[in-house]
């Protein structure tokens, strides 16, 4: 089966500035693919190119088999898009919103009736079809927005921070729907800042400074983080962090609540150095424990290794 999304050396320049720099990746049909990166990393520019809103300066990208450079009309009919700031009309009812999106996507006649019923059932809103969208809880609105985004049965679905702010019960419910769509062959590309959403993806691509700096399964990204992280609990975190400034085995140290999280090169050597240094500075060490890296730890470490995020 050909890849649902195939990107090769995709590049976008704005004058002298290279916003996206020779990015290549492929997404398999039915895959849930996460796209992460700090602000200014080139994530939005990439998505704009993949959805036909922005012309690439160089390289190629095929989405659902269409060339994003010159088949933009066909491309737009074959993708769905949903963002946190979704485009539902608050003063229309549930059913009217579905009707409106059907009109936009050219879904008519018997297909419209079938698709409307499907969306209502999928979003569990059949009994609430005549309610104003404004009156629905956030989690329900998100399911309706998802339904509207896939009303025309696009093979590719783009989600931009789809569940930011919802309660975990609604979020899991939402993702159950996404997994069901993926199983039926919809390919899903998710952009997000939130690791709570990223954890749901099959694979994650991380961008920084216009480049793709990592691409793997979430568990593999965590496993490839070779520098261990130690939690160091002391009687005074700010003084401890100051004392530890010149310990050679420490890559990075930061406060985390009352404790310190310290990334080190060699666990045994670092433990000894930290103990010694803190004792010398008159600090009491309560414990030093290895902690598993979070996806955010991995993200921050990779971005810093790649020269840090663009600031300003």
């Amino acid at each position: 089966m050909p890849d649902a999304i195939a990107v090769q050396d995709l590049t976008r320049r704005f004058g002298d500035f290279v916003a996206v720099d020779r990015v290549s990746f492929a997404v398999a049909t039915g895959e849930i693919f996460g796209f992460l990166g700090p602000n200014g990393a080139g994530k939005t520019t990439t998505i704009k190119m993949l959805t036909g809103l922005l012309h690439p300066s160089d390289g190629t990208a095929y989405v659902a088999g269409f060339d994003v450079a010159d088949e933009t009309e066909a491309l737009k009919r074959n993708i769905g898009y949903m963002s946190q700031l979704f485009s539902l009309y608050a003063d229309l009812t549930v059913e009217e919103n579905i009707q409106l999106f059907a009109g936009l996507y050219g879904v008519t006649g018997p297909r419209l009736a079938a698709r409307r019923d499907w969306v209502l059932e999928m979003a569990e809103l059949t009994e609430h079809r005549t309610r104003l969208t404004a009156d629905l809880p956030l989690g329900w609105k998100q399911r309706l927005a998802l339904g509207c985004a896939v009303l025309h049965e696009p093979p590719i679905l783009f989600l931009d921070e789809p569940t930011s702010g919802v309660d975990p019960v609604s979020r899991r419910h939402f993702w159950d729907l996404i997994y069901a769509l993926a199983e039926e062959g919809t390919t899903v590309l998710v952009t997000t800042h939130y690791m709570e959403e990223a954890e749901y993806c099959n694979r994650l691509a991380l961008m920084n400074r216009g480049r793709l700096i990592a691409l793997d399964r979430p568990a593999a990204l965590k496993a490839q983080m070779t520098d261990p992280i130690l939690e160091v609990a002391t009687d005074d975190a700010p003084k401890a962090i100051e004392a530890l400034q010149h310990v050679p085995e420490i890559v990075e140290a930061g406060m985390y609540g009352r404790a310190l999280h310290v990334m080190v090169t060699d666990e045994a050597a670092a433990r000894a150095s930290i103990q010694r240094t803190l004792a010398g500075a008159g600090r009491r060490v309560e414990h030093i424990t290895v902690i598993p890296p979070s996806l955010e730890d991995v993200f921050v470490a990779l971005v810093r290794r790649g020269g840090g995020a663009v600031v300003g």
């Binding site: 700090p38 899991r172 709570e196 985390y256 609540g257 955010e296 995020a309 300003g312």
Partner: protein
């Protein structure tokens, strides 16, 4: 020791909607206190009442002994409050914004250079002191907002979802500033919709639909979902999830990528039921490991136990 913040039956109604329902809790001096819950849980309304910018419809809160119900203006000298839409002047530079807030709070001129230096050190904004605030990135704007809120060195810091919409790198930097303030003794109440951030707090109030669902240290809250959860990897995660949801001892089963996360009634006793159920359904287990429950697991356990959610 007297509480820095004492909340007593604090309530707020908007027409028929009870946004905050009889909240009571105390925050100790120097504590980093999290108010955590999804959108609509009442976090912003609570913080607004504590900041003296919204009147409670019932109950009260004392900040350093000053009542928000009867002396909302008096509260303001003790606090810094940063709302999600903190008022920065986009056509003023970084330093001019600091000057503006320093004037507003009557910070003596002689003290300003030292305070600014300290804030610049935390925020890394020093190199941008002459840049217009409007030309800063979202994360930098948040840091400037926080710096402005802190310029009068208040005893209590109230932060309403400071990391909303901020990327993970800036998010870490913001927390660094908060931890610095707390380390220097400032009482801090911070709200967030992101449960993973709650782990940074000394104690956490979990809010849901205006009510306090739980209040404890993050470690104690985690134990509410049991000593561990089980992560099971199979080739067919959705099918595995459906099989596991049919098992009596399984409290929750949810797909995360290739894994299913399983919360059990009694993990030590019930762990074998997972393998048995999947073997019975003909689904080979590729990998299995125990992990600490997250606060998300706790939240779901509490909400579903209450039978609130369908």
């Amino acid at each position: 020791m007297e509480a820095a913040v004492s909340v007593q039956n604090l309530s707020r109604r908007f027409g028929a909607v009870e946004a905050v329902r009889a909240l009571s809790f105390d925050v100790a001096p120097g504590e980093l206190f999290g108010v955590v819950g999804p959108d609509g849980a009442g976090k912003t309304t609570t913080l607004r009442m504590l900041a003296g910018v919204m009147r409670p419809t019932a109950g009260d809160a004392l900040l350093h002994g000053v009542s928000v119900a009867s002396d909302p203006e008096g509260v303001k000298t003790h606090i810094a409050y940063m709302s999600q839409r903190f008022g920065l002047y986009t056509d003023l530079t970084v330093e001019e914004n600091l000057d503006f807030y320093a004037d507003l709070y009557r910070v003596p001129r002689a003290e300003r250079p030292a305070r600014y230096e300290r804030l610049y050190r935390f925020s890394a904004l020093g190199q941008f002191r002459d840049r217009l605030a409007g030309q800063l990135s979202g994360g930098m704007k948040q840091k400037l907002g926080l710096s402005c809120a802190l310029v009068h060195e208040p005893e209590i810091l109230l932060l309403d979802e400071p990391t909303f919409g901020v990327d993970p790198i800036s998010r870490r930097d913001l927390w660094l500033i908060v931890h610095e303030m707390v380390a220097h003794g400032m009482t801090t109440i911070v709200s967030t919709a992101y449960l993973d951030e709650a782990e940074r707090c000394d104690r956490v109030a979990l809010l849901y639909e205006g009510r306090l669902m739980a209040l404890d240290t993050p470690a104690a809250l985690q134990r509410l979902a049991g000593p561990f959860i089980v992560k099971v990897r199979t080739a067919r995660p959705r099918v595995a999830r459906d099989v596991l949801r049919g098992v009596r001892e399984v409290r929750q089963a949810a797909v995360f990528g290739d894994d299913v996360h399983v919360v059990l009634d009694d993990p030590e006793r019930d762990a074998p039921v997972i393998d048995r159920a999947l073997a019975g359904a003909g689904i080979p287990v590729l990998h299995e490991e125990r992990a600490e429950p997250s606060l998300e697991d706790v939240f779901i356990t509490l909400v579903t136990r209450g039978g609130e959610h369908a």
